[in-house]
């Protein structure tokens, strides 16, 4: 456990990613302090370039882009994170159940997983969203979660199948522990790195999907989010009139979240899969394992 944490901290990439994400979250949390007032209020003329008064310029409707950016981070991040967690929870449960019970349960669940996996997600999302009309954040969450759990389920299933054969799991079953206890107490803790990768990857996916849906106009246009900012900017042809700030600011926000999460995930990947590690990290890992072995020997 400690080896993993310290490995994480020594990775410059992971720390950089964490700093980006924490900063954005703090900005969202303290939105009323950073940008007081209503972000949808008209405060200036249309399409003003960035000035001292309006750091990121104004939109076509004369709204302050900076205030919209700060306030828009709230729903964008909240929905992204919550959806990512929901996707992971669904995928992990399906994968655990399929991998642990095997047999017919596994065959059915695996079939469902692979089937949902090959159906193109975004067209399915658009079908659901267009029949639902304008959708609120909860509906967006549900739609994204229900269409994108199979990735995690596949990974979890194969790991669980491998773990099921291990001695400690077999022993627990022989002792007569109930299934739920074997699954959650014996198997689940071993899946933590995998679940970490899954959570981060799912959040990235959820933010991309959410932005795409809102950009296409399925979000509530009156709510200020990064996706609806892009939608409004596109509709007011901001790019064509050269109002780059109107598009670039929400785009940069989303790209930053993606970048931060990707950096974190890269490190998670290396912790879970030492084979992928490159040079310096690899020698660091070897040093760590050597250290741990020495500690074990000393303890004996």
């Amino acid at each position: 456990m400690n080896a993993g944490v310290s490995l994480f901290w020594r990775q410059k990439k992971a720390v950089a990613g964490l700093v980006i994400i924490v900063t954005l979250c703090l900005m969202a949390l303290f939105a009323p302090v950073i940008a007081p007032g209503d972000p949808s209020e008209r405060v200036g003329r249309s399409h003003q370039p960035p000035t001292v008064e309006h750091y990121f310029g104004t939109t076509k409707m004369g709204r302050d882009v900076f205030a919209q950016f700060v306030w828009g981070a709230r729903p964008s991040l909240a929905v992204g994170f919550a959806t990512g967690l929901a996707i992971t929870a669904l995928g992990t449960i399906v994968g655990l159940v399929a991998g642990y019970f095997g047999g017919r349960t596994d065959a059915t669940l695996d079939l469902a997983t692979n089937a949902v996996l090959v159906i193109p997600n975004i067209p399915l999302l658009i079908l659901l969203a267009s029949f639902a009309g304008t959708v609120g954040p909860l509906a967006i969450m549900a739609i994204i979660a229900l269409t994108s759990w199979p990735w995690g389920a596949r990974m979890t299933r194969s790991q669980t199948m491998a773990l099921r054969q291990r001695e400690f799991v077999v022993a627990a079953r022989m002792v007569g522990e109930p299934h739920w206890r074997v699954i959650f107490v014996e198997i689940l803790p071993n899946l933590v790195p995998l679940i970490g990768i899954n959570v981060v990857g799912s959040i990235i996916y959820a933010i991309v999907a959410q932005t795409t849906l809102e950009y296409l106009g399925f979000g509530d246009p009156l709510r200020v989010t990064w996706g609806t900012m892009l939608y409004n900017a596109q509709n007011s042809s901001a790019i064509m009139v050269g109002a780059w700030w109107d598009i670039a600011v929400p785009a940069a926000g989303i790209a930053l979240v993606g970048l931060g999460l990707a950096l974190i995930n890269f490190t998670f990947d290396e912790i879970a899969n030492p084979q992928l590690r490159s040079g310096p990290a690899l020698s660091r890992w070897l040093r760590l394992t050597r250290l741990r072995r020495r500690q074990l020997e000393a303890a004996r």
Binding site: V116, V118, P123, I126, L127, L230, A255, S278, G279
Partner: protein
């Protein structure tokens, strides 16, 4: 053929799932979409058109199973209904106009990124931990995480609006007549550059990551050591021995990613006003042209399933172990 039997079951279930979604979603949603569609048809709403829409969306006195059977029989005859926006035209006609452009775009982007991504992945695995690897590998992870919307907007702004290097919108210069001549082809090429460049980063990132990790495990195999021991040149070992075998997981990944590629192409086509399926889907969703949206989902599902099947077949051809196992 034991492999394909299981896969075929998956494809059948996926296809059935798409059909059931198309059938059930409009019937489950609160508020009937039928009225809004009829309202949209306006003066074009002939009794026949109203009847057709009602039958398709369940506003009709018939048991539900009967409706489903009729629906499936209709699909079997390529009857996807009529478009609401372009009324006398059927959905098949509307989609048929644009499917070719999307296929062209997606195919070009995949081939391009496959070349770039596999090469980058192979080289960064070969020089693991080197300067090349420690720049390219994190960069591809970032490429995967950036949404296509943003790449599309950035490309459009840089090359289309600021530098004015490349045309903005349409698949070819509308003043040209489509024909088999150089001017037309070069126009098609120029118009495809930005959309392809937008679709590629995600794909390149995915291919590079998959290729790198599979190449790393292949490099430990005996036959690679053997190739080196024979004194073959570095390039010969890298591409002839290692990369060839490391390609297989990349192929599997490609099949799984196709759905995401279609998602990316939707956004790309909208931003660049490219007349493919994505733009059609967008105009359909703005106009709430439900039959076209449904047809789109079905068509893209069929395309993805077909491509997966193709990859399954290619897999057998490329991997000698699978090929010999069958013989």
């Amino acid at each position: 053929m034991r492999l394909s039997r299981r896969r075929l079951a998956v494809y059948c279930v996926a296809f059935l799932f798409a059909i059931v979604m198309n059938f059930a979603v409009p019937r489950m949603m609160p508020g009937s979409p039928v009225d809004s569609m009829i309202a949209q048809l306006g003066p074009r709403a002939t009794p026949a058109a109203i009847e057709a829409i009602k039958a398709r969306f369940g506003a009709i006195e018939q048991p539900i199973w009967r409706q489903f059977v009729d629906y499936v029989v209709g699909l079997a005859h390529f009857d996807l209904g009529v478009s609401v926006k372009y009324y006398p035209q059927t959905v098949v006609e509307v989609l048929g106009r644009s499917a070719g452009w999307t296929a062209f775009l997606v195919f070009t982007a995949i081939v391009f990124s496959l070349c770039v991504g596999v090469l980058l992945g192979a080289v960064s695995a070969w020089r693991r931990g080197g300067r090349f690897d420690s720049f390219v590998s994190p960069f591809s992870v970032v490429l995967i995480a950036v949404p296509p919307v943003i790449i599309a907007l950035a490309t459009l702004f840089t090359f289309g609006v600021t530098l004015r290097l490349l045309p903005v919108g349409y698949a070819y210069d509308p003043s040209l007549d489509p024909g088999l001549n150089f001017t037309f082809f070069s126009s098609v090429f120029l118009h495809a550059v930005m959309p392809v460049l937008t679709l590629s980063p995600y794909l390149i990132g995915e291919f590079q990551t998959t290729m790198r990790s599979s190449m790393i495990s292949v490099l430990g195999e005996d036959y690679v050591t053997m190739g080196r021991a024979k004194g073959l040149s570095e390039a010969a070992v890298m591409f002839g021995y290692a990369a060839r075998n490391a390609m297989l997981p990349v192929l599997t990944n490609l099949a799984l990613m196709l759905g995401a590629v279609f998602g990316g192409s939707i956004v790309t086509e909208i931003v660049f006003n490219y007349p493919g399926l994505g733009l059609t889907l967008y105009t359909a969703s703005v106009a709430r042209d439900y039959p076209v949206i449904q047809g789109q989902l079905l068509l893209m599902t069929i395309a993805t399933l077909g491509a997966n099947l193709l990859v399954d077949i290619i897999y057998g051809v490329v991997d000698p172990r699978i090929r010999e196992g069958r013989a």
